[in-house]
């Protein structure tokens, strides 16, 4: 998929994985069918480059955030901005819907996570989580938790049900965090070229994965659809996969020459989307052959 602009991310929409969203420095979002390689729609409305986007559970809405400090809520069908949330003091790095697409959680380099209400017309966030000491690089939301990775080297998990905040110190700036599919573990990628798998409850280290290179860019890490493998983008143009249990490097895919910026895994199928230098590649795991440079 050719996209204009350097930065690019490719989160497939969460429900069926039939779509993928890219957002780039051309201030637009694009909705693709990655299997056919067709662009379905372009969403324009951001004032600066778009840094992250996510889809709602029912594929009816999108949210995106960008360097214009705003978080936008889109209607998928009409392509219109339903709402724009202003309040972040800096670039907004990451957005996520909650499970029912009633809340948008956005993390910004102003070191806050803001929870925006999609239901009401409130212009200000429902809550601001400002515990981080440095910019938020990654946010994930489960049914009752908000997981955030910050540049201050901590993985914070806000548990709404228990009313507690768990903060795990990793040390080096976190680039990406994600929950495992069973919700028991947390995977955190940091700028010391290490991925760490932490137990969610105790914070203990379950696994450590190294081999890739991640020192400067905000790179994504993923868990495969059955939590069997851990994947990470790398700055050397490869995507690395490790066996989750053994921690051994299982595979490295040469995606491109440049940095693989964004990575996302199909929620149910062994399918991988990797974004690099204005390209999105779809990989199917069963053959491990590039299915098509769309």
């Amino acid at each position: 998929l050719e996209c204009w602009g350097g930065h690019l991310s490719a989160p497939p929409s969460p429900v069926d994985g039939n779509y993928c969203l890219t957002c780039g420095s051309d201030k637009t979002l694009k909705l693709w069918n990655p299997h056919k390689g067709t662009a379905l729609r372009t969403y324009q409305g951001h004032g600066y480059e778009v840094l992250d986007a996510a889809g709602s559970f029912d594929n009816s809405q999108l949210c995106s955030c960008g360097a214009d400090k705003t978080v936008a809520l889109w209607d998928v069908a009409t392509g219109q901005v339903i709402r724009k949330y202003r309040g972040h003091a800096g670039k907004v790095n990451c957005v996520q819907f909650n499970e029912e697409a009633t809340i948008i959680v956005s993390g910004s380099i102003d070191s806050t996570i803001r929870c925006w209400d999609c239901r009401s017309r409130r212009p200000d966030p429902v809550q601001v989580l400002d515990e981080a000491k440095d910019g938020i690089s990654s946010v994930k939301v489960s049914d009752h938790e908000i997981l955030s990775g910050s540049v201050d080297g901590r993985v914070r998990r806000y548990d709404l049900r228990a009313g507690q905040l768990f903060s795990d110190y990793i040390g080096s700036p976190i680039t990406s965090v994600c929950f495992s599919k069973d919700g028991q573990c947390v995977l955190a990628a940091s700028l010391d070229s290490t991925l760490r798998l932490l137990d969610k409850e105790t914070g203990e280290l379950l696994g450590e994965y190294t081999g890739h290179r991640s020192t400067a860019y905000r790179l994504d890490c993923v868990l495969s659809e059955q939590d069997t493998h851990v994947g990470s983008a790398s700055e050397d143009g490869h995507v690395y996969f490790w066996d989750l249990v053994e921690g051994s490097l299982a595979l490295s895919l040469a995606v491109g020459r440049g940095v693989v910026q964004s990575l996302s895994f199909h929620p149910t199928l062994p399918c991988l989307l990797a974004a690099t230098e204005g390209q999105v590649q779809l990989w199917r795991e069963d053959t491990f052959q590039p299915e098509g440079d769309a």
Binding site: N98, E99, E100, T102, I103, C115, D117, R119, V126, Q127, V128, L129, D130, E131, K133, D143, H144, R154, Y158, D159, L160, R161, A162, G163, Q164, L165, F166, S167, D168, Y169, I170, G171, R196, L198, D199, T202, G203, E204, L205, E208
Partner: protein
Amino acid sequence: AAESSDSDEEDLVSYGTALQPLQEGERLKKPVPLQEQTVKDAKGRYQRFHGAFTGGFSAGYFNTVGTKEGWTPSAFVSSRQKRADRTVLGPEDFMDEEDLSEFGIAPKDITTTDDFASKAKDKIKEKARQIAGVVAAIPGTTAFDDLIGPSKITVGVELLRKMGWKEGQGIGPRVKRKPCRQKPDPAVKVYGCALPPGLSEGSEDEEDEYQPENVTFAPKDVMPVDLTPKENVHGLGYKGLDPSQALFGVSGREHLNLFAAGSEDTSNLLGDLKHSKGRKLGITGQAFGVGALEEEDDDIYATETLSKYDTVLKDEEPGDGLYGWTAPKQYKSKKRSEREVKYIGKILDGFSLASKPSTPSKVYPPPDLPRNYRPVHYFRPVIAAGNENCCLQKALEESTGKLESDAARQSRHALNASQRRERLGEAALKGPSLSVLEYLSEKDRERLKEVKEASEQQMKAKMLPHQSRNSRFQPAPPDDASHKWQMLLGGQLANAGSSDFKPFARNPEKQKRYESFVKSLKQGEKDTLEHYLDPSMTEWERGREQEEFFRAAMFYKSSNSTLSSRFTRAKFEDDVDKVEVPRDQENDTDDKETAVKMKMFGKLTRDKFEWHPEKLLCKRFNVPDPYPDSTIVGLPKVKRDKYSVFNFLTMPESTTSVTQATNEKIQQNNSLNKAKKPSRWDVSDKEKEKKDSISEFISLARSKADIQQQPPAPAAEESRTGPSETLRTEVPNEDKDQEEESRPSMDLFKAIFVSSSDEKSSSSEEEESDEEQQPTTSVINSETTKQVDLPDSSSSNLQESVAATTDPGVPLLPASKQELDATEEFGPKLPPAFSSGRFCRLLIRKEKHRKNREKHKTKREHKHKKEKKKKHKKQKNKGKHRNKKSEKDSSSDTEDSSDSLSDRDTTGLSPKELLRR
């Protein structure tokens, strides 16, 4: 047609009007569209309605008057000659032209007269018309026919009449009615539904009763066959709602009877004309409105609502179940009447008597007045407003033996906000809170207390004579006023620097006098006040000026405000003495660093906090709120003293390079805290201001000779600083000085803070900081003790506060709210702690405090001590507090003058500090 007319005009006969010959070059006229082909009358009006009698709306000249010129009354004609032929106005005179036209109601054109009209107007037709009239969409239209129709009888009818026929009868031989009548056999039971009466036999049955046997009747008129073609799309036999029933009938009956009335009607119509004759014919229907003579006005806007229909069967009588909804009326009414007996009076429509009587409302008698109550309010002499005053009063009372210091006796106005709040049991406002004391260890505090007590004893001694003098001043003697002022003001003024507040700036001489006056006040010289006043002034002037000065000083002294507690601070304000910091902080990063290096994730790297999610967030996440009662959002915050030991750990790094190297580690440790905390510079700022009133210090330092051993460090510091520095020295200089000064006194402080090892690094810097802490803490300590204002609850309260202050390093839990509240009050009260009025208060507190500590001491002993302490305290306080607090206050002058009216009773430092930067 145009062409043909040209060529063979002679041969052809032309009908109609020929079209206008087409002009050359003229465009074909557009045909007038259908919607524009309107009929207009002679005056060019749209002819939609006709004259007034046909319901027209265009009467007169454009609905105005008769002519274009207006209405002209008929000209006066002298009746002398024409008396006889006075014109009699007929209906035509009031009719419009249109009414007289062919289609009007009184056409003047040639029309067929009755004589030549068709004789088809017979009963059959009439009946059909009647039916049609009832069924027709607009009811009553046919009625016109009755009105207008010819009244002449046709020949046939005439003939028939001559033969004995009467209208309504059938034609044919007369018949006996009897046989055809069937009486229902009583023996025969009728099952099922009985035939509705009147349907088969009609209403004749009743008449038959009295008819004799031999009478014959004319045959029934033949039922006319309704020959009206079915033009509508209604179903066969469909009959619209009878409008007369539906509209007029409603008012009579409550419920619309769709069946009975309608069927009766039709049967009548279709039956004998005789019956229909009886029916009132006339203009009926809503369309015609209500005439003047009709009385059905109420019905005009009759609307059909569902409420007119029964939706449920009537509820049954509860009792015997014998009577259902068909119960005879008597039964119901009887029961009712029984009940009504109890109630005399008319029961309103729609209301019924309550089944059970309501319980009579309780009547509470007014409270009994105490026997000695006199309905006169006695104003006790108000000494002065403010907290200090109360304390003073209390002190006096205590000293005179009146120990029943019940709070209720104090007048409402003598209380300050916090006291009132206490009495009302309200929660304290969130203001600056938590003194340094909380961060000190128990031992340190003990030590401080001891020091204070010792000094207090000194004070007491000094204070005693004064007290004895004033003890009887309940009806305050006038000559005592100035002393009162002094006592009140002294304490507060002691810390009020003369630096910035210039109430008499316009009059420099006066200002000078004022300043010296203030100074003297601070030094507690009571009688020397007069010296500062202008000797050339008259007695009266002098008195006035003195009063003025007092007022000014008072006004300006009220530096600590309860107001300040009403404002929230900027989050990262660094000149407040308390900073709001997250209760739990992720600190000691280096530990974690090492843990990470050792890959010992888990407990070492994990911080667990209480976190309060927003309620709405929980709702949106479909998660129950974990803290349904909490009002906090996010991490619970805690007020922490900004000048706590921790804060000062970072001090040297910014100022002195000497200690920097050694300090690095601490720096690292505290890097997290550092961001929000003040550096040394803040303190130095304060110090700078301190130097403003050096001269005072000098005197102080001298008077400090007799001060006890424990607190001399700051005093010494002062004395050293004092002379060496001029008014506005540069900050770095001062700092250096400070460092130098504080160093020698370290030993002393070591003596005091032997066990201050609760800090991680027990380096000298820390102790240094501790030293600097010390003055403040001591003050705060006294404050905390003082705080115990209400004597009854004091002891427990105090203990609480002590408990709150026990743990130096660990911040308070919010759970202990009470403690927090208390401490919040403690903190702000710091500054005005120094002179006589203040001291007696302090003393009381001290006593309380002491009581707690040494519980078995008697009051007597205390009194003695008090006096001793007084002396001590005064000096000690001056020395010690001057150090920081007083200066703070002095600088707060500026602020006070700026936002002049803010009354501060309790909080001293914070607002000023706010402004300073």
